[in-house]
Symmetry: C2
Subunit: 187 residues, 2 copies
Amino acid sequence: MNTIGTQDVGNGVNVQALLDARQALTAAPEAARFQWRAQCQWVNGTHSRTTVHGFAGLGEEHTHRAPFVFDGDHPEVFASQDNGATPVEILLVALAGCLTAGVATVAARRGVRLHSVKASVSGDMDLQGILGIDADVRNGFTGIHVAYEIDADAPPSDIEAIVAQSQKRSAVFDIVTNPTAVTVEVA
Amino acid sequence: MNTIGTQDVGNGVNVQALLDARQALTAAPEAARFQWRAQCQWVNGTHSRTTVHGFAGLGEEHTHRAPFVFDGDHPEVFASQDNGATPVEILLVALAGCLTAGVATVAARRGVRLHSVKASVSGDMDLQGILGIDADVRNGFTGIHVAYEIDADAPPSDIEAIVAQSQKRSAVFDIVTNPTAVTVEVA
């Protein structure tokens, strides 16, 4: 995994492998079709446990090194037991992780060494939507704000450009900011 | 926390508390404004660690019973180290958890006892988007599919209606299926 990109700036991102992947997938676009999965099991009340393990891509099945398990619940102020983060918070986790992986990747690609990257993410929500009090209030966030603090060997304008490019290439940013079709069926 | 709703069907959802909350927030809508938060720290490569602890609502600050910590990373097929679920998988976890909490809550409200609830969630993605191979391919999921298997004391049509109502009231379902504004700034 030591590549030119990795050695150049030391962010731990394998830039050469990503460039190779782009070349390979340009030649074989059907290999670019991935399917990501999660298996959720209700525990009790609003508490559920969701496992991420297998996924498909590059024309075959894969598994992560280990299953990743997530507890979701509602907090005590909603008369729940707070056995895990609230699902809307888990969505903020997904957004933060995707944008931050992007910052590291774009920085490596541009030869910018990162010393530290922190993101504070917040999502505002009016519960009048979800509780059915006001039909004009949406269930989800009225808006999400992400604030980065980045220490890197680059001037502020370059750092801002890296963060902007990360948004442009982020899957979760796209899913959240644009409509994504969800079909739900009962077996 | 023993209420009529909980005792009636035993799903562990405090229905009376939710009805009381709706009444209280109808009278004091400013208390319905919540802010959910996550703090993300880049670790190395595409690996980041995000913590969920504090949130605001009901006019004050709250903390969860404990900080909830999430590792996000990319898998080894992307030349990463697979130290955590991929952020798009974490988004599927959020969706599954939100819809499933809703199923339990709506079922309790309707007096339907649940024995088991499982959801298999999958999201299809064409990597030609995120890798910048084809500008016409989006970065995010082309679509998400959720398949529920529910064992409950109710006929299939009632179970389907519960799942449908859960979608109607789900914050994460709304955020994913509709556009949500995200602002990103660098401090």
